[in-house]
């Protein structure tokens, strides 16, 4: 039974049962409560005025206390999705590289000619909505999200001594894609001091492709800009800027293709229970668009995304995108199927999905070396602080250290 038939069945069944009561209501017998009289209002008004002043005073008092507290205690009120410096640096590098790899490598999931877009509108439907016409950009972000959001237990950022002699520091990142495959990124970098700035230069390796990474870390003490750039060449690159504030962890992404900015989006991360979700704020065709993205958890394996979106121009328009991964029977590669529901209309679009990993992940992949020999219950090991050739001697999970780290973090 199709959706339309189900809806029709419900509608018809309900309408058959709906009683007609129009003739049973005697309007003449109903006494309408009179409008509020100004004369009667005077005593109440004065009481209301007293209450208004009282509550205003109370509100100002409470606000003042809260503002004073927030100024004197800058600890973030939110639960951070990224807990320490390794995760923050790693997230920026991995997400930027992931966006870059989706943007500039050959589409794999569809066998198409070189000038064919990596998008297939099913059933010959036209792009009738803003979302459908911007699906190319959305698909870039979804490819990236598949790697960096989801269950935190399957997201591991690990800082360690570099295995490559050319670099001081290595951050290893592991996650699990929607097919249950292990996804790996390796970031190698050196740091040099330039006044108040700590410059970071390195490489990111993913699926045997190497990307150039450049960054900046400010140690001025005050907050702070942070920026991180992953490049294929001088004209094609992704910049991610940490714009975290007291309301949450946020990052600004700019995608440049052929030296032109093709999209700018703000992504904020949210930790719910043990799951990282993302919110994208961007502009499509002069409309503000907000998308709430989370991996749809179907038991043991994640099998897709659920995306709520709101388009906001003169009026608000809401919609839902369900994204599933499926195999293209012709190419044998996996692809995304977008089911977009807006205004009761549902369209389906097939989009390219970047190959992320080839071997099935298991629990051991997300166990750090320390997990096996001590009682440390964290899943990220920071035996050496990133950006330093020596051990700083501090536990990176120490709260004071963390706050300082996050405040001072200016990564480019």
């Amino acid at each position: 039974m199709k959706t339309r038939q189900i809806k029709m069945l419900i509608r018809e069944t309900a309408l058959k049962e709906m009683p007609e009561i129009l003739n049973k209501i005697d309007l003449s017998s109903i006494e309408i409560i009179p409008a509020f009289q100004e004369e009667n209002a005077k005593p109440f008004t004065s009481l209301r005025r007293v209450l208004t002043y009282s509550f205003s005073f109370l509100f100002i008092l409470v606000s003042s206390v809260l503002i004073f507290n927030s100024l004197s205690n800058p600890v973030s009120p939110y639960e951070a999705a990224l807990e320490n410096e390794t995760e923050i640096i790693g997230f920026q590098a991995v997400s930027a590289t992931s966006l870059l790899s989706e943007s500039f490598t050959t589409p794999l999931s569809l066998s198409m000619t070189s000038d064919t877009p990596s998008i297939l509108l099913l059933g010959g439907i036209e792009t009738t909505s803003v979302i459908e016409s911007e699906i190319d950009i959305i698909n870039k972000y979804l490819n990236m999200m598949e790697v960096v959001i989801g269950n935190k237990e399957t997201l591991l950022y690990q800082s360690k001594l570099s295995e490559d002699d050319a670099y001081q520091t290595q951050i290893s990142f592991k996650s699990m894609d929607l097919l249950g495959n292990l996804v790996q990124f390796q970031l190698y970098y050196n740091t040099t001091q330039d006044g108040d700035l700590e410059l970071i230069d390195g490489i990111m390796i993913h699926n045997e492709i190497t990307y150039t990474i450049h960054g900046e870390l400010s140690n001025s003490g005050e907050v702070i800009q942070s920026q991180f750039q992953a490049s294929i060449d001088e004209n094609n690159y992704v910049i991610v800027q940490d714009i975290t504030d007291t309301t949450g962890q946020k990052f600004l992404y700019k995608i440049y293709e052929n030296a032109s900015l093709i999209n700018e989006s703000e992504i904020s991360l949210d930790l719910t229970n043990t799951s990282i979700k993302a919110k994208i704020n961007t502009r499509f065709q002069n409309e503000n668009c907000q998308m709430n993205i989370e991996k749809a958890d179907n038991g043991a394996a994640n099998s897709g995304f659920s995306v709520n979106y709101i388009l906001n121009n003169e009026t608000s328009l809401v919609g839902q995108i369900d994204v599933s991964v499926e195999m293209n029977q012709v190419s044998g590669m996996y692809q995304y199927r977008y089911t977009i529901t807006e205004n009761e209309d549902t369209d389906e679009i097939i989009c390219n999905r970047q190959d992320k990993g080839n071997t099935q992940a298991n629990d051991d992949d997300f166990t750090t070396d320390d997990d096996s020999d001590d009682s440390n219950d964290t899943n990220t090991t920071t035996s050496q602080c990133p950006g330093r050739s020596d051990n700083c001697g501090k536990n990176c999970y120490n709260e004071d250290y963390l706050i300082t780290s996050i405040k001072n973090l200016n990564v480019i």
């Binding site: 039974m1 959706t3 189900i6 809806k7 069945l9 419900i10 509608r11 069944t13 309900a14 309408l15 058959k16 049962e17 709906m18 009683p19 009561i21 129009l22 049973k24 209501i25 309007l27 003449s28 109903i30 006494e31 309408i32 409560i33 009179p34 409008a35 509020f36 709430n292 659920s306 709520n308 709101i310 608000s316 809401v318 919609g319 839902q320 369900d322 529901t341």
Partner: protein, 175 residues
Amino acid sequence: MYINFDDYIELLKLKDDKAFELVYEHTKRGVFSIIISIVKDKSETEDLMQETYIKMLKNINSYQIGRNFNAWLLQIAKNIAIDFYRKNHNVTAYDPQEQSYIFDKAASLENDSSPHEVNELLKPLDDEERQVVLLRIVSNTKFKDIAKTLDKPLGTVLWIYNKGIKKLKDTVRKE
């Protein structure tokens, strides 16, 4: 047909029959939907619908022009239904044993259009999903109005709706 309910408020205050009929015809599905989503006892629906419209008319002076009349009326219906439910909640105890009933009914529709009770059809849904699905499908209420009536964010309402529809589809597919 779209109508601006605010154009009829003054006439309602004068108890104008035609204005009341027009408002009734354009809102009865929503009122019915919200009531049966809370009170599953069919025999009470009629009384509660009457009570809703009577209360609406009695309080018409408290409605402020420019606000959302439909959402206001649905809120009245919802409050009346909830009041009734609180007083008589034992009448509508949920029987999980009958959960599969909907599927038999749904399947049989393809062969025969015999009448069904809508709440039986929606048994796989929880209360929230039932409310949203009924308001959207039966009365074509805007998601914005549903959100206001149920006091939930727009995105949440859409989420609930899609979840409900998917549940119904899955249920029918399994059968």
